[in-house]
Symmetry: C2
Subunit: 314 residues, 2 copies
Amino acid sequence: MAITVVGSVAYDSIETPAGRKDRCLGGAATYFSLAASFFTDVRVIAVVGEDFGPDQEAVFHARGIDTRGIERAPGKSFFWEGSYLDNLNEAKTHATELNVFASFEPKIPEAYRDSDFLFLANIDPVLQRRVREQMPGVRLVAGDTMNYWIKDHRAALLEVLKGLDILLINDTEARMLADNNNLVQASRAVLALGPRTLVVKHGEYGATAFFSNRSFSPEGEYAEHMFRAPALPLEEVVDPTGAGDSFAGGFFGYLASSAAADDLNPAAFRRAMFYGSVMGSFAVERFGTERLQQLSRKQIDERFILFRELTHLD
Amino acid sequence: MAITVVGSVAYDSIETPAGRKDRCLGGAATYFSLAASFFTDVRVIAVVGEDFGPDQEAVFHARGIDTRGIERAPGKSFFWEGSYLDNLNEAKTHATELNVFASFEPKIPEAYRDSDFLFLANIDPVLQRRVREQMPGVRLVAGDTMNYWIKDHRAALLEVLKGLDILLINDTEARMLADNNNLVQASRAVLALGPRTLVVKHGEYGATAFFSNRSFSPEGEYAEHMFRAPALPLEEVVDPTGAGDSFAGGFFGYLASSAAADDLNPAAFRRAMFYGSVMGSFAVERFGTERLQQLSRKQIDERFILFRELTHLD
C-alpha cells in the first residue's frame, strides 16, 4: 500500500572521520522515501528551492518515488551542515538554513489522497499536524521528531502525538519527552501521549519497540510488550547522516508492503524492526544517500538473514 | 565441569538513585561465583580479612560454592565505595582500599586442581597470571580486566591475554585496549593479542561476542563471526554493581555446565551469551548480591525464554 511522507528534501554538507562531502542530497524525507521504496510505493511532500534540479529529481524517479508533491519555491533548498569528528553517534550542527522551508504550506496532491500509510518525518510539528489533518482517512500514521521540537515546541508536538499510531525517536529524545531517565518508564509515559507503539532507536545498538495494548488490530493478541532488533556491528561507518530516517523507511515501508499490510500482526512488526535496522546499516556505509541509491532488494534480504543469524539462538 | 575462579571477595558501600547500602558483600569473584553456581560447581580463590565471618561464608555455602581457597589474612577485606547517582551505566568511585589484597599470594588448594574451567576475574594481571601458571591443565580459561590495568599495567596484562581463551570486557575497555574507536576493528585487534573469543558487554544494550576462527574446537565450523545477545529493558535498576561479573558467571557457568561443556559448539556459545545477559539482568534488581542469593534455576530459565521472545522473529 502506498505511503505518503512529508518532510525535508535538503542539501547537507557533512564531515566525518572518513572525509567531507559538500551539498549532497539529503533531508529526512529523502532518506525515508529511498529506504521505503524497496518495499512499497512512496509519495513525497516537500518544498525545494531553485537549486533542486533534474539530477536530484532523478534520484527519486530511479526508485519509482512519486515527486508530484515536491513543490518548487523561489530561493534555496533547506541546508544543513554538520560533523561527526569526535563522535559518530551524535552530529555537531554547524549550520541550519531553513530557506524555502520557512514559509512552507504543505499541499496534498489529489493523486496522493488514497495513500493508506502516512509518515510525518522530522519537521515543525505545526506542519506535521497540518498534513495529518488533510489526510483523515489513512490507516496507519507514524512520525519522527527531535530534541528541538520536544524542548521548544512542546504544545504543538503534543497535538501531533495524539494523531500518531507509531512514534519513532531515539533514546535521548524518548527520555527528554517523558522527562524520565528510565527507558521503560519513559516509554510508558510516551505511549500515554497518543502513539500506540513507540520505537526507540539506539544507534549502533539497534532499536526497541514498546507496544501498548492498543498496538495491534482488535483481533491481534500480544502478550509481550517489547521487541528489540539489533544493529550490525560495522567495520566502517562512513556517514551516520540519515540512519534514523532510513530505519524509519525500512520499518514503515515493510509494514506497508504487500507482505505485511493486510495483517499488521506482532510478527509483521518484528520483521519491520529488523528491516529498519537493515536499512539503517546500509545508509551509513557511504556518504549521503549514495548507498541507498545503489542497493538491491536481494542485498536487503541477504542482510536481513545476517541480522537474524547475529541474534538468533538456533 | 568445575570452575575455579580467582578474584576479589570484598565489601562495597554503594549509593544509587534507589538508596544506599553500606558494606554489603561484593567483589567480582563473589558475583561471578554466585551467578555461575546455578550452572555448575564453583571453587573460589581469594583473600579476605578478619571482617569476613561465618555469615558471609554462608552466602557461598548456601549455593554450594567451595570456599576452601578463600584465605584469611590479618587486617581488613578489600573495600570499595561508589555511587551511580548521575549515571546508572558508570560508577563513580569514592574509595578503593586494597587492604589484604595488597599482599595477596594466590594458592590453589589441591582439591581445585582438577578444575577444567578457570576464570580470572578483574584483579592485578600479575595475580591473574600467577594463577593461570599454576593450572596449566585447564581446558578453557576466561578472564576480565578494567581500564586501570589496561592503562597503567599494560605489559603484565598483555602476558595474561596470551593465556586466555575468552576475554570479557566492556565497550570502553575494548576500545581502550585496542586504541581504536570502531568496535569491529578494535575486536579484531584484541583477538590478535591472544583470546580466541572476545565478549564485549554493552551495559543496558546487551553484549556482542566476536569469534575468531580459533574460537571453537577443531571439529567445529563457524561461518559467522559475531553474535549479539540483548539485555532486558528494566523498569527499575536498583544497583548496577556486579552486573558484568554476573554476566561472566552466567556465560562461563553455562559453558561449563553439563548441557554445554562436552561440545563447546557455536550454539553453546550463543546460549551462554543469553544466560550471561539473564544473570546480569537479575543482579541489578536488588542491592549487592541480594537478588542472586534468592534466585532459582526455574526463574533463570523463565527469563531466558523472555530474552528469546524479546529478540526472536518467530
